[in-house]
Subunit: 878 residues, 2 copies
């Protein structure tokens, strides 16, 4: 019964009871599967035989064998559909097609803009109008479309995927609606020519695709219903997303791992490679078939010389790029967050923007497109180039500024955009970098499906190019002193810069691999690696990654990473951070205790202990289960039963005494009305503990985690019955019909009395789903280990036990606090709030001995008739 | 006390009590650390002040500030030494130097051989002698040297590292001796020119380096003593090993992950990249400084054209290479295992070879070097080329067989070796592949430090070249039909073949990345990826990887991987595979129970439950702890105490009655002697449960896991006291001295009586180290999940509990059996031995309800005075 409703579970509920519930579902699943298989096996054999016979009769004259063969093939194929590789190939294929179609549409959109702009070159004002209106319309459409269809499609999607892969269920993020909204929204957003990327959204689209494909495939085989398999497939899908976006299978797999996982199963690695390679292959083959390319090559092919890619003496320059990119990346993340927070905080602006939701995107687009208008300010920053064109020109292997005199250089087609008659190439580049930097940070806050990777990549390339051109101007004949002149290749610097800045923003090293795959050249491997690592080192010590930053802004459940080289984490122990005042229920508690526990706390699961004296942990129970227990106990159907019983007793009495009249009729009516209201107020049913709220985009949402709890927190004295009625919610229809013959003739006082009596009964846990093995830690587990276990198993909380006894609980919140207390954002190491070094007076073995003594005592006292142990309070406070 | 001895723990002991012991040690560690810090802080402040004063007085006239500054810098540097990056840089630096020096020495050795061979060209026999003797001497020296110094250095080292990273302690594998043996042995082995590789050994050497460096650095800071940090550093070291061997940082990191880990922490990723990049950088910079190279480029640089690397129509040929490589890789692994097993099985050969340990290496070397003798058979298989030279020529971008006529092609220097006046290039290549194939499989069984990666890589390259040359002969003008002639590049095929075959043998995808980094060109990314994935798909379904094969041969503890697409694993549950007959001890058991449990089982840890009725799991206790408890109870010191007490009582009696004489003197003497013998027989102390046996190389060892258990398995009736005396082992010296004044005057019968009495006492667990939170699963956890948890946390066993009650135990053995039952080596899926689908009659919720009922009953009966519940046997058998 409860299992059926499990699909409806909301955020975070899935993970709390991971072991118990998960395996329970598996048990149910296995049984269902067995029944299904048995049935379908019988059915199939019957239908097949009859079909074969039909065929034989029908095609008597023609090649019947051929038909039978086809049927067999079909059967074989359907049986094979359950295999992973079929799924991965399909996923790769679909994603390659999606990627190619999106790219094609974007190219058409951009061409249309160019054509409009080019056609109106007689009138600058008309030109401006065309240049500005086009993106504004597209972005507004994109924002409106996603807003209406699926607000979950807004933004990058990588933060959400990270959260989902951590085990949190964000169901609304993986629906068909979201898929449509994301694909169309993304196409329009990128078609507008704004500095937005497609990488992040593609990770989300691929995951959506995998989830939908899984659903579709589950029509053929039951294996697709397995949750843990779906998580594995989602991990592969993330790799496919990056892989088919950049035609970079290796980089895609690595990037997706770095960005979405904390712990990675190496066996999933292969899935990712397989799907991503297939996807990238199809993606590039489509380009060849479309006659865009002659053969399969890299997306942004470079042609640097192979024999002497760079000199050893150039390495300091590369290192400088890395360090500067690190600062730049941190600044970008900071700026992005600042803009979001600024817009949120400014109440006036916020209210205005919220009312007219499409105004903000339109406004931002207007500003950005005005500034890039080529005859206007755009002429100083190569405004007429699209993102792709800019990148191609930036990675060019010719030097723009030979000997410092930009005029000498002959510009080709697009490269000419970088040349301004009055301005130096350096000034153009600096302007480009500065303008694009804030524009990208601003543009990525627009509520449309968009990523930040590509804009950052282009800015990084421009920065690298700037350094490279400077170096080329400084050393016109190259640095090498051995005779042969090897001029400096500024394009190589651009490659290094692109990898370093994108690595710094996303906190990944695999951007290096992506860069090699994008350019098709690996000759600059060492400079790229050095720059990326330096950039990461700087950026990681200053700011969280862009995706973590968004996770925090969106208040998604997260677990911060342990920093690099923070030793304190080895010395903090669970006992320093655990909550000692654990809410628990005992096996022999009465409903009143249950009621009180539910009133005072908001935890989603409660510990079940043997007794308050022994505190032996038996399992944990979901809050919803307890609420349903309580509602059953105090529910209308039970009360009706009581009334019926009482009526029966009454009848017997009535056979002696005559009726007294119906004075309590009005009373009953008001009661009925009150009941209905209270039922509406608390519309949750036991199996659906919280109504499922879709998460809203960053700009509009204040909180996910702190959503109203199911229980009002009002003091529990003032509203006796009303509050209890909250638990008596949703009496099922049958129950009502059942008791239709009995009249609810109890007065409020009577009800209260009855309820009081009911509350004193002992709880019967028989129909309650208990997680029999919640995760346990010991007091001395280090923070480091705890973090590892939490992220490995995707836990939400863990109980701290000592020789079977429950002594505390650690939840994600405490862990987060502890880590952030010891590892602050600024890179300064603060001492953890709770001292980590104990006085060395009490040795651990002594401690253990005393505890065991106590357990021993307890055990002895247990065999006597129950009595509260005096040492219990000591134990708790120790 | 027990903590001090923990270094001495043997194989597998470390992981069984992972949580409890680990955290306990941390607790002790933190306290010690606190004390140390406090002390050293005081001491330091005092000494510093005095030193500063000294300096000020001493250098009054000179720049005292300068000196003070130096002291401060020193202090700062020492405090920084604990940082991870310092460690990683040092590790990278050391390994780069080692790699470079080893390469340099190997080059000199190979040059020396060439020089000798070249100088003697007047006489073929002398030439032959020189050609053959040189490698035989080197290999024999290498084998002898490693045999004497550290037999652990033999072989690749990757299997051992995989085992170590899984949490198993193989201490002897990470000592300085092993380091020296491995480096010198490897240099000599590779210097001989045999088809051996340096990759595997370098992974081991880097790990050794990290372990030694850790030990060295722990002189400065306590953080290096942390075990979990050391594991992280070992993971990084594996990456460094591959990285500095091939100057391939990215491929190195990925390869080491794929080869050594099951689950990988993404935060370690960065460590690996950092160290591997630094190491690769230094390694290549050394080459530049040594004037070997002009600048930093790839190790085996290729010069394929960039604009049109391959045609789309060539892809089927690449796929064929992939599939053929898959079969070839599986064959290689099979052949390698076959040779080892053949030599082991042949008793006669074996005995002979074992006696003269150096004969086998010498014999193998003789055969191989005879066959490669250039004027002999070697002329048909390019025998005069070293491995490196062969690879360079194979990756050449010129076509050898233009238009099918090999003679037309002008050969350069080394490429000429492939040309034979009478033979076709194709025949040479085929001979090379076939001969090298079995030679490599044979050579890697020689007990010297050696890897198989490089030989396989070269064979793969030759195979790819063969296909490429065939394609070039078939399509002399290229395949493209669009007008422009793009001739086929056989070198590209060689690259693909090399990646595919090495990927198939090692079951990795990252060989693709290594290939790009080795050649410095990424243009063939898609063919390489396709071939590698196909090769992996084929090889993985036929054979385990080479490293897993060696793990099985060496009988190292391992957990098989879950296959790809085996659905049954989702349907098998823990209850299908768990051992229901768990050995447990209860909290109130007497020593006799302890004794019986220790006698009947061989488990390394025992479950501690509250009572036999409740079966509530309280924790687990190590066998050694129990043995020490028992030995304390029955120990000599305790008996002496008893005797003293008895003597006191006797004295009182004696004050009344006169002495009866000393008739029991001889009795006592014999008793003393017996005691000494039995003490020597059972030489284990409680804290050192098994003497530490170094693992021996594959050829000579039969078993690691099945080493003799600590307890003799003789039937426990025949030797009453002697057996008990086994537990009374190692009475500490002080105890003996203490009781020196009391005479041991008990007869054997008296002792037996006394012991019987002692055994009936209740166990006092006070001084016993209990793991308070052993890992727990529930019955319905799937095999898939169990495997994940076991490999994530490196568990050895886990208890299966149901609402606090212990109902079973699963160890690595059961898990291994279950997985191998469902996933056989041949790729045929066998149905698991225990049925996975239950009859769907009993629903899970019903089941739970009954269980809770029982618990409920139990609980009620618990509050009464203790009495055995009748339903207990039902519970157990259910």
């Amino acid at each position: 019964m409860a299992g059926d409703g499990s699909d409806q579970r909301a955020l975070q509920y899935e993970q709390t009871l991971m072991y118990g519930r998960y395996t329970q579902e598996l048990g149910v699943y296995a049984k269902e599967e067995a029944a299904r298989l048995r049935e379908s096996g019988q059915r199939r054999s019957v239908t097949e035989r009859s079909r074969t016979l039909d065929l034989l009769e029908y095609d008597k004259g023609r090649c019947a064998k051929c038909r039978i063969c086809t049927v067999r093939c079909q059967k074989f194929l359907i049986s094979r559909v359950g295999e992973d590789w079929i799924f991965l190939i399909l996923l790769g294929l679909v994603m390659a097609l999606v990627s190619w179609v999106v790219d094609f549409c974007i190219a058409i959109c951009l061409q249309a803009q160019k054509w409009m702009y080019g056609g109106l070159d007689s009138n600058v004002f008309l030109q401006y109008l065309a240049w500005v209106t086009y993106p504004v319309v597209l972005i507004t459409f994109s924002a409106g479309f996603t807003q209406i269809l699926a607000p979950q499609a807004v933004g990058s999607g990588i933060p959400e995927m990270k959260t989902i892969l951590r085990g949190v269920v964000l169901k609304e993020y993986l629906t068909f609606k979201t898929f449509v909204a994301k694909v169309i929204g993304l196409t329009c957003a990128l078609g507008s020519g704004m500095p937005l990327g497609k990488e992040g959204p593609f990770v989300h689209i691929a995951s959506l695709c995998a989830a939908l494909l899984s659903k579709f495939m589950s029509l053929f085989g039951g294996i697709y219903e397995n949750e843990s398999r779906n998580i594995e497939m989602l991990a592969a899908a993330c790799a496919v997303g990056v892989g088919c976006c950049f035609a970079a299978p290796i980089g895609g797999v690595l990037f997706s791992i770095e960005v979405t996982s904390t712990f990675f199963a190496v066996r999933n690695y292969w899935r990712g490679f397989f799907a991503a390679t297939f996807s990238a292959f199809i993606f590039r083959v489509l380009a060849v078939w479309n006659r865009d390319e002659e053969t399969i090559t890299a997306l942004f092919k470079t042609r640097f010389r192979l024999d002497f890619p760079f000199d050893l003496q150039e390495l300091p320059a590369f290192a400088v790029i890395g360090i500067a990119s690190g600062f730049g990346g941190a600044l970008f993340v900071y700026l992005n967050r600042l803009i979001v927070q600024f817009i949120r905080k400014q109440k006036a602006i916020n209210r205005f923007l919220m009312k007219k939701r499409l105004l903000y995107p339109a406004l931002v687009t207007l500003i950005i497109s005005t500034l890039t208008f080529p005859p206007g300010f755009g002429q100083f920053m190569a405004g007429r180039l699209t993102q792709k064109e800019s990148l191609v020109t930036l990675l060019d292997n010719r030097t723009w500024a030979k000997q410092g005199i930009a005029e000498e250089f002959e510009y080709f087609s697009n490269s000419q955009a970088w040349k301004h008659p009055q301005l130096n190439v350096f000034v153009t580049l600096v302007l480009f970098i500065v303008m694009k930097f804030w524009m990208s940070a601003l543009a990525t806050t627009i509520p449309v499906p968009c990523g930040a990777f590509m804009p950052v990549f282009v800015i990084g390339a421009a920065f690298g190019r700037l350094v490279g051109e400077s170096m080329a101007a400084w050393f016109p004949d190259g640095i090498n002193t051995d005779g042969t002149i090897y001029p400096i290749v500024p394009g190589g610097y651009a490659v290094v810069g692109a990898a370093a800045l994108s690595g710094a923003v996303t906190h990944t090293v695999s951007t290096a691999v992506i860069v090699f795959e994008l350019t098709g050249q690996i000759s600059h491997i060492l400079p790229v690696m050095i720059a990326v690592i330096l950039a990461n080192a700087v950026a990681q010590s200053l700011q969280p990654s862009l995706y973590d930053s968004i996770i925090r802004i969106k208040k998604l459940p997260y677990l911060p990473e342990l920093g690099w080289g923070h030793h304190e984490k080895y010395n903090i122990r669970v006992e320093d951070i655990m909550v000692r005042d654990v809410r628990y229920i005992t096996l022999n508690c009465c409903y009143r205790d249950l009621h009180n526990v539910l009133l005072t706390g908001h935890l989603k699961t409660l510990a079940l202990v043997e007794s308050a004296e022994s505190m032996i942990l038996l399992g944990s129970i979901e809050r919803a289960q307890l609420q349903s227990l309580l509602s059953q106990q105090l529910g209308r159907s039970r009360r009706m039963e009581y009334i019926r019983e009482r009526a029966d007793a009454e009848k017997k009495r009535l056979s002696v005494v005559s009726s007294l009249g119906s004075e309590d009729g009005s009373q009953r009516a008001s009661q009925e009305v009150r009941f209905q209201i209270s039922t509406e107020e608390s519309s949750f049913s036991p199996t659906r503990p919280a109504s499922q709220k879709p998460l809203k985009p960053a700009l509009k949402r204040s909180s996910v985690v702190e959503r109203p709890t199911d229980l009002p927190t009002s003091p529990h004295d003032n509203s006796g019955i009303a509050l209890k009625n909250l638990f008596c919610a949703s009496p099922d229809a049958e129950g009502l019909e059942d008791d239709g013959d009995v009249e609810d003739d109890m007065t409020i006082r009577e009800i209260a009395e009855w309820e009081e009596k009911q509350l004193d009964e002992q709880v019967n846990f028989n129909n309650c789903k208990i997680d029999p093995a919640p995760f346990q830690l010991v007091e001395r587990t280090s923070l480091h280990k705890t973090h590892t276990i939490f992220s490995l198993l995707g836990l939400d909380h863990a109980y701290v036990t000592s020789i079977g006894r429950l002594i505390g609980v650690v939840s994600l919140k405490e862990l987060r606090k502890a880590i952030e207390g010891s590892v602050t954002v600024k890179g300064v190491k603060v001492r953890p709030p709770l001292a980590s070094f104990r006085d060395s007076g009490t040795s651990s073995s002594e401690n253990e001995a005393t505890e065991l003594h106590k357990l021993w005592d307890r055990h002895k006292s247990m065999s006597l008739p129950r009595e509260p142990t005096p040492s219990e309070s000591d134990e708790k406070s120790q």
